[in-house]
């Protein structure tokens, strides 16, 4: 009976310990998939020879602490001419005079922009919305993504019947918790912090409540048992003497 209880308890503790260890160890990061990023997959090399260069086999989002020289964005990505261009939002060619533009893929500079549900789940490439070369800035008059025609030229390709209101959905969402978002997308910012407080508050209170409760019950159970056990073996004076001490 006792050994059974011991076995049960040790299995429980091992399971709890295993769960605890999971929190300590780093999350899974399948690093060796032959993709440049977790999102772009083979789309960048549709016309490729099938032979992959070393730089194409990059780890996924969880990078190890090893830098890959020459792959990261250089410190000066623009050519000297670029100095004349202050705002890129209105250009017919948004990438005018970007250094080595032809040799680069979109996500090498716009890594964050590829992390949205259209890309990760809908499997949509940048060019399917932003158009072919030269890619116009979204505020340029002839851009398909200009708000005057975005719903008709881009969104309705998949979302049949979309209107201008629908097209105000923000595909490249800002980080909702970031301070800049308070200016660029205030409702998302406040919604995020409201939900954050709700989740942390509810879980924080009730997890603590449950933990203390379970701990306290086990403590009482153990104490009762320890008081009961000597009672069975020794004369009854002992527990009587113990009681005032405990109170």
């Amino acid at each position: 009976m006792r050994s059974q209880r011991l076995l049960r308890r040790s299995i429980l503790w091992m399971a709890l310990g295993g769960l605890g260890l999971l929190l300590v160890f780093p999350a899974v990061a399948p690093a060796q998939e032959e993709v440049t990023t977790s999102i772009r997959r083979y789309k960048d090399r549709e016309a490729s020879t099938g032979y992959y260069e070393d730089y194409e086999v990059k780890p996924r989002r969880m990078r190890p602490f090893v830098g890959v020289p020459g792959v990261l964005r250089p410190s000066f990505p623009y050519s000297p001419k670029t100095g004349n261009i202050r705002i890129r939002t209105y250009l017919a060619d948004a990438h005018r005079s970007v250094k080595f533009y032809k040799a680069q893929s979109c996500v090498e500079c716009h890594a964050e922009e590829a992390r949205n549900v259209h890309t990760t789940r809908g499997n949509i490439t940048c060019r399917q919305c932003h158009g072919g070369e030269p890619i116009a800035s979204i505020a340029h008059y002839f851009s398909p993504l200009n708000p005057v025609r975005r719903h008709a030229y881009v969104c309705s390709k998949c979302h049949e019947g979309s209107d201008a209101s629908f097209a105000t959905y923000v595909v490249h969402e800002p980080k909702p918790g970031a301070l800049e978002t308070r200016k660029t997308f205030p409702s998302l910012f406040y919604a995020n912090w409201f939900m954050y407080l709700l989740v942390v508050g509810t879980l924080g209170f009730f997890i603590l409540h449950t933990l203390v409760w379970v701990g306290k019950e086990s403590y009482h159970h153990l104490r009762e048992k320890m008081q009961r056990e000597p009672e069975a073996e020794s004369p009854p004076e002992k527990p009587e003497a113990q009681e005032p001490e405990n109170e």
């Binding site: 899974v28 399948p30 789940r121 923000v170 980080k175 998302l188 995020n192 939900m195 997890i207 306290k216």
Partner: protein, 276 residues
């Protein structure tokens, strides 16, 4: 089990609603988590069980509508149960789930007991955490149901709301769903299964009845009230038959393991879970 004195705690309708929400909630959790983690191999595998991303979305939407219908039926059931002639007593007596001042007092007493400053509170029929469990569904269901419906038909939504509201709705839906899952898989499961005296399972939600002796320890006020009103014999019932116990143990443990597996997945893939 059948030689114990047992009293009724949940009606057959209460139990059916619970089984219904168990099945639908877990379906939503699996189809939702699969799509949330779609960029991982795990997510793709789960989604493929439902016939791909589109299939999982269809199941999620259909079951979502089912949940909303169930919720409306539940509200109708509850409204029908209230005795409107004496509505104040019916809503605010100790057999009702409506929060009372006593619940706040009990919570205070419980916290005092936690820090060793007093005895544990004596509860009536419903404890404050049971009431919270019940009402949490009442805030989660409308929030998830309304945002879910609006997201299900984004084009219709954008006719009467600006399209950027969809971004905010996704955030609300996802955050609330994560909260609901974490609450159920950590707190509700611990209270229902892993508390001392509850393990391996608190059977009252399936059996519908509880052991009188055990209940008198935690909810003495309820038992005392039943005795005072002379209704104790009225509510006594026989225990659940053996085949039924086997069935609900299998069902309950399937649900428990599904939930714990999802919790485990959430921990393993925590870096892939995006809030927005």
């Amino acid at each position: 089990m059948n030689d114990q004195v047992r009293i009724v705690r949940f009606s057959i309708f209460d139990r059916l609603f619970h089984v219904g929400i168990m099945v639908t909630f877990l379906t939503q959790a699996v189809t939702g988590m699969g799509r949330l983690l779609y960029s991982t191999a795990w997510g793709k595998g789960v989604v493929n069980l439902f016939g791909g991303y589109e299939g999982a979305t269809t199941v999620h939407n259909t079951v979502g509508i089912l949940m909303i219908v169930g919720f409306v039926i539940h509200i109708a059931y509850v409204l029908a149960k209230v005795e409107w002639k004496s509505w104040h007593r019916s809503l605010f007596d100790a057999d009702s789930l409506v929060p009372r001042w006593a619940d706040a007092v009990h919570l205070g007493q419980k916290i005092r007991w936690f820090v060793g400053l007093g005895p544990p509170p004596a509860f009536d029929r419903w404890t404050y955490w049971e009431k919270f469990d019940y009402w949490a569904v009442f805030w989660g269901m409308p929030l998830l149901g309304v945002t879910g419906l609006l997201l299900m038909y984004p084009l219709v939504t954008s006719y009467f709301l600006p399209g950027w509201v969809l971004n905010v709705l996704v955030l609300f839906h996802r955050a609330e769903a994560l909260l609901a899952m974490l609450y159920i898989f950590i707190i509700h499961f611990t209270i229902g299964h892993f508390r001392r005296g509850m393990f391996p399972m608190n059977e009252c939600m399936f059996a519908g009845s509880v052991e009188l002796e055990e209940e008198a320890k935690e909810k003495p006020l309820w038992i005392a009230r039943l005795q005072e009103e002379g209704r104790l014999e009225e509510v006594m019932v026989a225990g659940p038959p053996h085949w039924y116990r086997v069935m609900y143990f299998i069902f309950g443990y399937t649900a428990l393991l599904t939930g714990l597996y999802l919790l485990f997945t959430m921990i393993v893939y925590r870096n892939f879970i995006e809030w927005h």
